[in-house]
């Protein structure tokens, strides 16, 4: 077996190890912390490239491109539980993406977090995150994947509440952890169910893995009380985990709040990688998701994939509408992320692994670019996040603006940018879906909204005149970030400034990929798709004209241009009057704008229903504990005391004297004796002594009969 397959574990292990060492590093070891994190990530990146090259080599030599390494972890009963890792095209693509984007964001963080007193801790958590995320990617076992998945959830929690002295950050971290855990618990059940059905949690194991035909066929044949076959039930339970992690409706509420974390965290975890783990999970267990009986030889979509599609399509559209009415630069991007994750899910549902994952990869680049760009903006504007107080920044921050523009066009799906190719594939697949056309229309409407809210954001931030409040903004980061603000004021005296090279260079690198990556997967040369699906590849410009690809492309181009034009019509025609001016769209329909501005009041709805119900339940169970069950105990106690007094009346002499003698022997130091005389201990101890005496007497008496 090849060296890189055998040692694939090094890729997550290096950042993990770095994180462990940084954890033990004192707070002032800033340089060492950053160097360890970046260094380990750099080596992991090189190893990932090696792994990628290995898969390419396997492919060109015509060998099997899925290679696994499994090992025993622990023993229960007569079997061993095995874990392992798998190197296949999906793993390779994800590894390279995560390590590359991660590396750039690590470097960016050196600049962004430069003034934070917990700089070292930040890199410890980032490295831990990288370890967990890479663990998710390489796992060849659903259990190992779940474990890494939870580690990733932990680091997401730690990093969202990184500025823990802000109550909102602490609350957001908790909300993220709990909301994703709501999805994780059905996932956990699905996992144990899968285990009991197939007897293994290894994905691939020379035909004995749980994703291989034998196991899938077995699960399809098992009926459940719910009326669906076991395969579908398990697939849906696992999908719940993906819904939580990838912020799909109805568990999307945590992701916008997660923007409380430092911006590099939003870029890395809550845009590029972790939130995409749900999509990756669905792709990883795709044989299970798509498993179904063929009815009369017809190929239809499995029930599980239909659910995936619908959830994705609804999320894609719904989140896009909310993004239209947000004011916080990061919250707009957050809802956009939710929406794009919906596209990925939909892509998986209607088009297959390659379609969904292609969008995952392009999105990782352009969305982390947008977030880092937003970070650069926030950094340059002394921690201002409200787009109403920005404006005209193109002049002050040219590099950031150029990079941001590339990211924005890629996200909108502007022709030839990466997002165009990947989103188009999803829409094309949706337009030919054999179940319903509604997801296609939802997706197309979402694309229009995307172009609209992004042009709104860019116009607000980069065009017009500067509306930044001259006074120092309210201290949103509290004490620990105060030095950063002081510093910003020091060299900028309130005026926006371009960020240092350590921040702009990653932006430029990312924008190159955000612009060009799409060409790896066009219809004419679908290298990416053929790589993931191990299909033959050929260059064929005629492919655009097959299967309705060209009409869909043209339609979506028109939609994007229309959305951008609409954005300009609303916000760009006249310069925005001032920070207090109402939104032009809001003027048109205040009620709807307010409704969307509050994210459709989903949080309020959950607060009034689930959370209230949960709190009520805890109060009720506490009340029962105090009054009903404890009342029962008190009754028992009183009864026993009644007996004790009766007993006391009958044989005080016998028990007491016997006990006193025993005590005298014990308490030679005099301490215990003093103790006994001070309290009513004799009475209590008598009960124990009494029980033992009764026990012995009964035994002797029975034995003598």
């Amino acid at each position: 077996m090849n060296w890189i397959v055998q040692n694939l574990w090094l890729i997550p292990a290096l950042p993990l190890l770095a994180s462990g060492i940084i954890a033990l590093t004192p707070r002032k070891g800033r340089a060492r912390g950053a160097a360890l994190a970046i260094g380990s990530m750099g080596i992991s990146f090189l190893l990932s490239v090696w792994a990628f090259a290995h898969v390419l080599a396997l492919r060109s030599s015509g060998e099997l491109t899925t290679q696994v390494f499994n090992f025993h972890w622990f023993q229960f009963g007569n079997e061993w539980l095995s874990l392992g890792w798998v190197l296949n095209p999906l793993t390779a693509v994800m590894l390279v993406m995560v390590t590359f984007v991660g590396l750039l964001i690590f470097i960016f963080s050196v600049g962004y977090m430069a003034h934070d007193e917990n700089f070292t801790r930040f890199f410890c958590f980032l490295a831990l995150f990288a370890g967990g995320m890479l663990g998710v990617v390489i796992s060849n076992s659903l259990l190992l994947l779940f474990m890494s998945w939870e580690i990733v959830g932990l680091t997401s929690y730690l990093l969202i509440s990184f500025w823990y002295h802000k109550p909102s950050a602490a609350a957001a971290g908790k909300k993220a952890f709990i909301t994703t855990r709501i999805g994780d618990l059905p996932f956990f059940l699905g996992m144990v169910w899968l285990y009991s059905q197939t007897g293994t949690l290894l994905f691939y194991n020379n035909g004995a893995g749980c994703l291989e035909p034998t196991a899938i066929t077995h699960m399809l044949s098992q009926a459940t009380p719910l009326g669906v076959c076991a395969a579908t039930a398990i697939a849906l339970l696992i999908f719940c985990g993906a819904v939580g992690k990838s912020g799909q409706v109805p568990l999307h509420v945590w992701l916008p709040d997660a923007m409380e974390g430092p911006t590099p965290v939003s870029a890395l975890i809550h845009a590029a990688t972790m939130v995409a783990a749900g999509v990756f999970l669905v792709a990883r267990v795709y044989p299970l998701m798509s498993a179904q009986h063929s009815i009369n030889g017809m190929l239809t979509t499995s029930a599980a994939l239909q659910v995936v599609t619908w959830v994705g399509a609804i999320t894609a559209f719904f989140a896009a509408t909310i993004a239209v009415a947000q004011w916080d630069i990061k919250r707009i991007l957050a809802y956009s992320t939710v929406s794009q994750l919906g596209y990925m899910m939909m892509g998986l549902g209607v088009g297959g692994v390659a379609v969904g994952i292609f969008h995952l990869i392009t999105h990782a680049f352009f969305k982390s670019l947008l977030f880092l760009g937003a970070g650069s903006v926030i950094h340059g504007c002394s921690d201002e996040q409200d787009i109403r107080r920005m404006g005209g920044l193109a002049k002050y921050m040219p590099v950031t603006f150029a990079a941001y523009a590339v990211g924005m066009l890629a996200l909108c799906g502007f022709p030839l940018f990466s997002g165009f190719w990947s989103k188009d594939e999803i829409l094309h697949a949706a337009s030919t879906w054999n179940v319903s056309h509604v997801p296609y229309f939802l997706g197309a409407a979402g694309a229009l909204l995307t172009a609209f809210y992004m042009s709104r954001q860019v116009i607000y931030v980069f065009f017009g005149t500067l509306r930044l409040a001259p006074a120092a903004p309210q201290d949103t980061h509290g004490a620990s970030h105060a030095p950063a603000q002081a510093d910003a004021h020091h060299h900028g005296s309130g005026a926006p400034h371009e960020s240092p090279a350590v921040m702009t260079v990653p932006l430029v690198l990312l924008s190159i990929f955000a612009g060009l990556l799409g060409f790896a997967g066009t219809a004419a040369w679908p290298w990416f798709q053929s790589f993931l699906e191990n299909a033959p590849l050929k260059l064929d410009f005629g492919a655009f004209t097959h299967g309705g690809i060209l009409p869909v492309m043209l339609t979506s181009s028109v939609i994007v241009l229309f959305g951008l034009g609409l954005g300009w019509w609303f916000y760009g025609r006249r310069p925005i009057e001032g920070a207090e001016a109402p939104d032009n769209l809001g003027r048109l329909a205040p009620a709807a704008f307010n409704f969307l501005g509050h994210a459709a009041f989903v949080d309020a709805l959950y607060g009034a229903t689930f959370i209230r119900f949960n709190t009520l339940l805890s109060k009720i169970s506490d009340w029962f504990d105090r009054w009903i069950w404890n009342g029962a105990v008190k009754t028992v106690t009183q009864t026993v005391f009644g007996f004790a007094h009766l007993d006391n009346f009958i044989d005080t002499h016998v028990v007491n004297s016997g006990f006193d003698e025993g005590c005298e022997g014990l308490s030679s130091g005099g301490r215990l004796l003093a103790l006994l005389q001070a309290g009513r201990i004799q009475g209590y101890l008598k009960i124990i002594a009494g029980a033992l005496v009764v026990f012995t007497v009964l035994l002797l008496w029975k034995a003598s009969i």
Binding site: Q75, G77, F695
Partner: protein, 522 residues
């Protein structure tokens, strides 16, 4: 039955060692430092001795090891018989680990130091006795004697409500014990033996209950009812100790009123006496009766898990939160123990689920002991710094003042939450892996407990450690070097067991197999 006996009385030595320590620290009580160091030395000596046993234990052998058999009361056919299997050994190790933690957490006790530590060590002796006895007669003596030091430790060194709490604890557990005693007297009168192995064999043959029914001769009741009454008596004793809902209400007040060092002993080791009783006594002897009451028992286990988690969420006192959390964690063990009774026969798939469930329960017992003990240790350290305050709302933002304390307690909290990579996860995974196929509904409902646990644990992190720093605690001292060194092995063990659970499973797995196979032909 001709078990090999041990040439050296290892187990009796292990039982007697803490007693010797108890006497010595009582005698040295005038010098506080001497008493503390003596207690610590003896607890570490016990740990060393237990590790020797661990090392010499043959994890592939059937039956009990290091056995000692001596005729004791011939007229009653009572032998002094002790020995350990994987489960017993695991409980010995847990005891040996928890007692030093308790001593560390009690280091700053200033009143009646000698007596305090001698009671702690006496309790350890009783625990060792309970975990090794193979004859009900002296098993019960240890079981009951353990109450005496526990009672005094709670009452004399506890908080303002400790007298009442100790009384409730004592009476409640006594009632359970008396019920259990009566059941076993009935069994003894019918069978003439207290030997647990013999009783298990008789139960398996189906001769035990008929003998009891004949002997008791209660004409008004059917044989099934008689058997059920005998079972309920025995169940009550253990159900109170673990505890099983709704017999748990003594626990929160006792745990919160007891000094934290004692709470550590109660939750870390004594609560395992109840579970151990379920596994060693109820499961082999009363499987048939458990099976007839299974639906009710499973509901009670689910209630234990879910309701105690919900109740923990409503608490404002850290110790009460952890007390309810303890009930919740042990509820998973009970769930596993009840679920394995379901289904008889030799279906290899179901049997393999039973292996998983029992292995999971064993792991969970150890892990809960370790984690809960460490959590209460942190509470003790916090109380000492805050002058006795330990309310959820008394602090705020102290992570800034005590970063190391926060980090290490955070790890322990996440271990309690069941985070993969730390010790709590594998046990819970194995329990659910085994229980789900055995009883789908109970496992699915119990999963709610995992969610609520996360909720209240994160609330602790949020309210105590995060938010703006409460100025009152701006100068809270962080962990001292000594405290860090003492914590190091404990926290280290959490990681080791999280990453390499085979360390424990390798030792207990054979016992789990034997227990499950015993159930198969019941």
């Amino acid at each position: 039955m001709s078990p090999a006996t041990s040439p050296f009385p290892w187990i009796t030595t292990l039982t007697a060692l803490p007693l010797a320590g108890a006497l010595l620290s009582l005698a040295l009580g005038r010098n506080k430092a001497m008493a503390r160091w003596t207690a610590l030395a003896f607890s570490l000596l016990s740990l060393a001795l237990t590790l020797i046993l661990w090392h010499n234990f043959n994890s592939a052998a059937d039956g009990f090891q290091f056995q000692e058999i001596h005729t004791w009361i011939p007229s009653l056919n009572v032998d002094y018989r002790v020995g350990i299997d994987g489960l017993g050994l695991l409980m010995l190790l847990l005891t040996a680990v928890v007692v030093p933690i308790s001593i560390f957490a009690s280091w700053h006790i200033e009143q009646k130091v000698g007596l305090y530590f001698s009671l702690v060590l006496s309790l350890q002796a009783c625990l060792v006795g309970t975990f090794t006895a193979l004859n009900f007669f002296h098993w019960f003596i240890f079981w009951e004697l353990g109450l005496i030091p526990a009672f005094f430790l709670v009452k004399l060194w506890g908080g303002p409500g400790s007298a009442k709490a100790a009384m409730q604890f004592l009476v409640y557990t006594m009632v359970g014990s008396v019920a259990m005693l009566l059941s076993f007297l009935a069994i003894f009168l019918s069978t003439g033996t207290f030997d647990l192995t013999e009783l298990a064999t008789m139960a398996q043959n189906g001769t035990l209950m008929p003998a009891v029914v004949t002997r008791l001769n209660w004409h008004l009741l059917t044989p099934d009812h008689v058997a059920m009454i005998i079972f309920c008596g025995a169940l009550l004793g253990f159900a109170v100790k673990v505890p099983l809902f709704p017999f748990h209400t003594w626990l929160p007040s006792t745990y919160s009123e007891a000094p934290s060092g004692v709470t550590i002993l109660l939750t870390g080791a004594m609560s395992k006496m109840g579970l151990y009783g379920f596994l060693r006594i109820l499961l082999p002897i009363f499987s048939a009766e458990m099976r007839s009451a299974l639906t009710l028992l499973l509901w009670l286990a689910v209630a234990t898990i879910v309701l105690s988690a919900y109740t923990a969420m409503a608490q404002k006192d850290l110790k009460r939160i952890f007390a309810y959390s303890s009930i919740n964690h042990l509820g998973y063990c009970l769930l596993a123990i009840f679920a394995v009774v379901r289904f008889t026969g030799g279906d290899p798939l179901l049997t393999s689920q039973k292996f998983a469930a029992l292995d999971g329960a064993f792991l969970q017992m150890f892990n809960h002991g370790l984690t809960a003990a460490t959590l209460f240790w942190f509470v003790a350290m916090l109380e000492r710094r805050s002058g006795g305050l330990r309310g959820l709302n008394d602090f705020g933002g102290i992570r800034k003042a005590v970063p190391v304390f926060t980090g290490l307690m955070g790890i322990t909290l996440f271990s309690s939450l069941g985070l993969p990579g730390l010790n709590g996860f594998v046990g819970e995974f194995l329990i659910f892996k085994g229980v789900f196929p055995l009883t789908m509904w109970a496992a699915s409902l119990s999963i709610i407990g995992l969610l609520i646990t996360a909720l209240f644990i994160l609330s602790i992190l949020q309210r105590v450690f995060s938010g703006p720093l409460n100025e009152r605690w701006a100068h809270l001292p962080d962990l001292t070097l000594g405290e860090r060194l003492a914590l190091l092995p404990t926290i280290g063990l959490m990681f080791v067991l999280g990453l390499y659970p085979q360390l424990i499973l390798g030792v207990v797995n054979h016992t789990a197999i034997q227990m499950a196979l015993h159930l198969r032909t019941f």
